[in-house]
Amino acid sequence: MSKIKLAEHVIETVQAICAQYNNEEGELINVLHGTQSKLGYLPAEVQELIAKELDMSVAKVYGVVTFYSFFTMTPMGKHPISICTGTACYVRGAEQVLEEFKRQLKLEVGKTTDDGKFSISCLRCVGACGLAPVVMVGEKVYGRVSPQQVRKIISEYQDGCPSHAE
């Protein structure tokens, strides 16, 4: 892993978040949430900075980051694709849909395409079981998705059509 230097404004952002929680070690998870929502992910250098600000060991920060599936150390794609793998979606064929996304994008779960456009992740029940199987692209929810629809969904984002790119 090569070391990158954090930009000044990133450092300030992270420091501000830590300060918001009084630089308390017990607030680590809130700090990580705050940071990830601002930066999109939690690279090593940011974790080191957080450890320093909260006066705790970076190993512990990393231990927490890797424990919770919500936190990620890789930047997500511009259009993060999340496939619900809750039980309701599973029994209605979410697995096949996931396979199809993986196949079409030639991408593993948790990874981002080389052009940074798409990333695939699985998430637990989004509570839209009535629409199972459910796929989310960014904030947009697609319900009752069949493997056949996968190509169409991807193509909506392929040309960067602005109406969908929110």
Binding site: H33, V64, T87
Partner: protein, 597 residues
């Protein structure tokens, strides 16, 4: 404005539609026109009534007459008798199977009494972002009663008498839990609301927080008063942004009018609520793990005792209750312990919310009194199985629960009954499966989930579940043996017996229950190399039916691995050793000459 005097509601749910509700509607329309009634009677197709066992269903307004098992040819008679002459068509009325009496008015039908909304009382009724609407429905009256007229002991006694048990899965008596925390001597105590709902396929807590956040805040304040705490914390999944927003609004509103904060309603009682966020770890539903997570640590459970009631958040006495449990509290105070205890079964009082999902018509959130049978939930309320398929199993309790079968359908649902048949209440996910679902695959699905969510702290859960999963995977690949089935059972029992927390102690349940209830299906996998539900891809074989094959060569040309051979105009052949089971041949064949065995 047309002035319809009567409406005829025809069920348009998939169950009824399968049994010709469309045709019934057409016939009703025709008959009404024939009688010249089109200006005063309107025929409307509705969503599923949830009474599919007796479908198709026709309901007549305004008198609420409910006709069941209507056939298209009954349309004329209904119009002629009921509409024109005002007489009910007796043979189409519903007969109560227990009382053997005919019931005409749907309001009198047991079916409509099956759902009772206590925890969900305000969901879908009030604007969750408007505290006034909550107050107008007796909101915060329970808190006022507690603070004004009751001692903390009386509050706890009321909870005990009500018989309310924890809705998060364990079913521990809520009053007793409060008592324990009250008994711990400490300057500082905490009330924690566990909103880290994580069962895949359960979303009742989210719905309550989104639909009625104040009921949870009020209950937490009541609990705070009862146990002697001034701080409440809601540990909520970060994946629930809407619920978080609604809670924030609710907390702000409650603070603004002094229902949270210092000196609530002039009684000197202080209580405020903060939010804490989960970050995607199912194990944090376990209360010690949840507390560690709130402290900024890895959400690993620790051995109990000490219980949180003695040593919890920041080592202070902490009472942890789940969302649905709390949502029941204000009602119990308002309507009394006796009223609450009158609902439900001997040892499980009140109602339970279920998230009904899977291969069922009425996917949704339901709330039924304890003691309602699985059959009533699945067939009456849930509207039966989708697409007219056959019911195979129902999974309750999520990854901790088990798969129950046809023979368990008449089991009244409560904490103890579900346990005794090898499943559990869990948080209330209820997934219905039909004949297309392979139970080995279902067990594997749950194990995969547990594997993903195991914290890794204890050996049986960390490695044991991995081995269980590997054995199941082997079986679905057709490489399992009968010894593997014994191994599954043996290892599953040890994992239950030795795991550190509830996650591991219940993780083998989906396997053990399917082994108990669907042993033949497992046997078919390991002995015959066959998946009866046709779901295990590795066990499928695509075969060409010689009689139907015309030798068109389409499949031959489409096969990506050249596994198909044969001469033009004569039956083709699939070489099983080469076939990758992609299914292209099956899809492309125009003569249905390819079968899956």
């Amino acid at each position: 404005m047309a002035d319809y005097k009567m409406h005829m509601l025809v069920c348009g749910g998939t169950g009824c539609r399968a049994s010709e509700s469309k045709k019934i509607r057409q016939n009703l329309d025709a008959s009404i026109q024939a009688n010249g009634l089109e200006d005063s009677v309107q025929v409307v197709e509705t969503g599923c009534f949830g009474f599919c066992e007796k479908g198709p269903v026709v309901k007549i307004l305004p008198d609420n007459t409910f006709y069941v098992q209507v056939r298209p040819e009954d349309a004329d008679q209904i119009v002629a008798e009921h509409i024109v002459k005002g007489r009910q068509v007796k043979h189409l009325l519903y007969e109560d199977p227990t009382k053997q009496e005919v019931i005409a008015d749907s309001k009198d039908m047991g079916f409509y009494k099956k759902q009772v909304r206590i925890a969900l009382r305000n969901c879908g009724f009030i604007d969750p972002e408007n505290i006034d609407e909550y107050i107008s429905r007796d909101g915060y009256a329970a808190l006022a009663t507690c603070l004004g007229d009751m001692t903390p002991e009386q509050v706890i006694d009321t909870m005990k008498e009500s018989g309310l048990r924890g809705r998060g899965g364990g079913g521990f008596p809520t009053g007793l839990k409060w008592q324990f925390t009250r008994n711990s001597v400490s300057e500082q105590k905490y009330v924690v609301c566990n909103a880290d709902e994580g069962d895949p396929g359960a979303f009742m807590d989210r719905s309550i927080l989104e639909g009625d956040p104040h009921s949870v805040l009020e209950a937490m304040a009541i609990c705070g008063y009862a146990i002697g705490a001034d701080t409440g914390l809601i540990y909520i999944r970060a994946e629930y942004p809407l619920a978080i927003d609604r809670l924030k609004v609710a907390i702000k509103q409650a603070r603004e009018i002094g229902l949270l904060g210092n000196d609530i309603m002039g009684t000197g009682f202080n209580f405020d609520v903060e939010l804490r966020y989960g970050a995607g770890a199912f194990v944090c539903g376990e209360e010690t793990a949840l507390i560690h997570s709130m402290e900024g640590l890895r959400g690993e459970p620790t051995f109990k005792p000490p219980f949180p009631a003695v040593e919890g958040y920041l080592k202070k006495p902490t009472n942890v209750n789940n969302v649905e449990t709390l949502a029941n509290v204000p009602v119990i105070i308002n309507k009394g312990a006796e009223w609450f205890a009158s609902i439900g079964t001997d040892k499980s009082k009140g109602t339970k919310v279920f998230a009904l999902a899977g291969k069922i018509n009425n996917v949704g959130l339901i709330e039924v009194p304890m003691g309602t049978t699985l059959r009533e939930v699945i067939f009456d309320i849930g509207g039966g199985i989708k697409d007219g398929k056959k019911f195979k199993a129902v999974q309750t309790g999520g990854p901790s629960g088990g798969c129950l079968t046809e023979e368990h359908l008449d089991t009244p649902i409560d904490f103890d009954n579900l346990l005794s048949v090898g499943s559990m209440m869990g948080s209330g996910g209820m997934i219905v499966m039909d004949e297309d679902d392979c139970m080995v695959s279902v067990a594997k699905f749950y194990l995969e989930f547990t594997l993903d969510e195991s914290c890794g702290k204890c050996t049986p859960c960390r490695i044991g579940n991995k081995r269980l999963y590997e054995i199941l995977d082997k079986i679905t690949q057709g490489k399992g043996t009968k010894e593997d089935l014994d191994r599954l059972r043996m290892l599953g029992n040890v994992i239950k017996d030795t795991s550190l927390c509830g996650l591991g102690q219940t993780s083998p349940n989906p396997i053990l229950s399917t082994l108990d209830n669907f042993y033949d299906e497992y046997l078919a996998h390991v002995e015959d190399g066959r998946c009866p539900a046709g779901q295990c891809k590795a066990l499928l074989q695509y075969k060409i039916i010689d009689d139907k094959c015309t030798g068109c060569t389409l499949c031959f040309r489409q096969c990506p691995v050249a596994a198909i051979s044969g001469e033009r105009k004569s039956p083709h052949f699939i070489d099983q050793s080469l076939c990758i089971k992609c299914g292209v041949c099956y899809e492309k064949c125009k003569f249905d000459a390819i079968e899956i065995v």
